[in-house]
Amino acid sequence: MLQEESDLSLIIAQIVQKLKGSNLYSQLERQAWASLQRPEIKLESLKEDIKEFFKISGWEKKLQNAVYSELSVFPLPSHPAAPPEHLKEPLVYMRKAQGSWEKRILKSLNSMCTELSIPLARKRPVGEQKELLNKWNEMGTDEPDLSLFRPVYAPKDFLEVLINLRNPNYENGDSLSFRTHLGLIQIPLKVKDIPELKECFVELGLNTGQLGIDDSTQVPPELFENEHVRIGQKVLAEQDSAAAQQYIRQGSPTALRAELWALILNISSEPEDVLYYEQLKTNVIQHDLLVDSLIYKDVKLTASNDDYYFVFEDYLYQVLLCFSRDTSVLSHFAYNSASPPKSYIRGKLGLEEYAVFYPPNGVIPFHGFSMYVAPLCFLYHEPSKLYQIFREMYVRFFFRLHSISSHPSGIVSLCLLFETLLQTYLPQLFYHLREIGAQPLRISFKWMVRAFSGYLATDQLLLLWDRILGYNSLEILAVLAAAVFAFRAVNLMEVTSLAAAEAVLADLSTLKVMPLLQIFLFATVT
């Protein structure tokens, strides 16, 4: 059909345009020039010979991985008449809600700035720059006075915004009718039910081997684990992103996880990337941002207090401070419903040439933000690689957890999916919790916003994040939240208040993620 052909050529043109600015393009060009020296490249069949050379030397694979990465991250080009806001978020009322939420955050940040009389950004004097450079690797030992700073917002503030989200064209009567949602989210987004989830997460089924279940001590490794590790090594040898993504749906062996994640996210540590990270480090040393204090405060409040992650405190500063200076993150706002905050150079208010984004990457951290980075510290020890992995995870997945959008992996859809699963498959529990004033979402929201980081044991968390990468979707977070409630249903039926329900679900560190998911999806009698 004409339409599909023109769509395809539009997608190809877009990807080519994007890849032209990348390292890979110049590398391929250099390789092509260098290959002209080789004897097998003949002038008459230059194009085919060079293509053949790329195939053999593995460069075609790298290009394939880059194209696959672009396809996974960027949404398909939309209708030519659609404005750019439509690509960020198609529903107008959600765009408006995100806009007002952002305004609130900016007001909060501005008022913090004026109250504490601290500038948003300040160039460090040379002495201070030297000092910071010297203690770059041990910024955790610094004990600045952060008592006056408070986080800009916490997940529960964001939950209140989502609860009050309404579609103006929707029948939102006050009286209860078939139209009212019994949960907290009142937006009629399309969410999957268990049969559709079973189809989607077919590799988590009872007949398929899983790491997290079939590698436990009682199961002899010859049955599944050894073969799975062997296949994993083969996938890494082939360096194929798409194969790695398919493989990791059954979990990743601990020894191969770091490389597999890097392959799926298409991160290769070239010298240019290390140089880029060093440049960001220089930016941190030169300018001091108000956002830095927020990051310090967040790390001190969350990761430093966590039994598993406090050892990585210095790494967290090194990653998050550089993340704030990284302008390449701004490109993800093309498909994120959020927009980066804008400001002007002092004295040049309103002049577009002096308009800048603040912070340079456009992302204002909230309470718990550092927990997105903490689990990655177990896998990567080299700061520039750790940084790249985190940045890629953020612009692919984590940004959806704190912006208002109708995307199936957006936090609104995840909340609705959680509530719908609970209502449909555990109606008695849902009704009971609702009656005692303990709406289940009030408890599970914080788990989903942090992608369960800090709530599960780290090995279980990494198994969960394996599946996020494998399925390129965050829906598994909502399914796990529902599965946790299903697991503790008996205890929850006996509680009589929200506080008691919170207490039952306070400690998730002993839970095994994969059996819970498998039972909830595939072994529950519906």
Binding site: L2, G21, L91, L106, P188, H287, T327, S343, V356, Y358
Partner: protein, 213 residues
């Protein structure tokens, strides 16, 4: 392919409902929009573009003049085209849609009027319609130019006059200049969308407060 926007007049939506509008409880589930082309002769319709607003199904009827003498007939060119896969949920509710000639059930030559029949069976939505309706007709094919005679019938090569020995060979110079020109064209054409990475303005990042616009 090129297309030309056809100026159209979109009449107000008419709700189709059984019974008296005032006393019945529910909202109408069928709306009809008439589109006329007052200033344009019957044309060949190429494309219809619009922004959906909670319409679930769309049918289009078109009034065609089959020949100069017979009266115009109404034909259905699109039947129950699904805009929202689940009428109760938001999927597809505010999408931009294009419908092309090849998707239509009948021939779209000599169209003089359109009637869009919108259906939304779900009672959840307060209203539904289509917005930003635009009709396009086939654009003209690229005009054929008549080439001047000297381009289409080039004269045979003349023998170049012998120049002084010290001057370089003109054909070699011209080929080298051509190569350089090709290189500059390539560089100009391959501009990338990669950012430079500077967040400050000339080394200065001293900011006002954040702006709310």
């Amino acid at each position: 392919m090129s297309r030309i926007l056809v100026p159209c007049h979109v009449k107000g939506t008419v709700a189709l409902q059984v019974g008296d509008v005032r006393t019945s409880q529910g909202r109408p589930g069928v709306l009809v929009i008439d589109v006329t082309f007052p200033s344009v002769a019957p044309f060949e319709l190429q494309e219809i573009t619009f922004k959906n607003y909670y319409t679930a199904f769309l049918s289009i009827r078109v009034r065609q003049h089959t020949s100069a003498h017979t009266t115009a007939k109404w034909l259905t060119c699109l039947r129950d085209y699904c805009l929202m896969p689940d009428p109760h949920s938001e999927e597809g509710a505010q999408e931009y849609v294009s419908l092309f000639k090849h998707q239509m059930l009948c021939d779209m030559a000599r169209v003089s009027e359109l009637r869009l029949i919108l259906r939304q069976p779900s009672p959840l939505w307060l209203s539904f319609t289509v917005e930003e309706l635009q009709i396009y007709q086939q654009g003209p094919k690229s005009p054929s130019m008549t080439f001047p005679k000297w381009l289409s019938h080039p004269v045979p090569c003349e023998q170049p006059a012998l120049l002084c020995e010290s001057l370089p060979d003109p054909s070699r110079v011209s080929s080298e200049v051509q190569q350089m020109w090709a290189l500059t064209e390539m560089i100009r054409a391959s501009h990338t969308s990669a950012r430079i990475g500077r967040f400050d303005v000339d080394g200065c990042y001293d900011l006002n407060l954040l702006s709310y616009t």
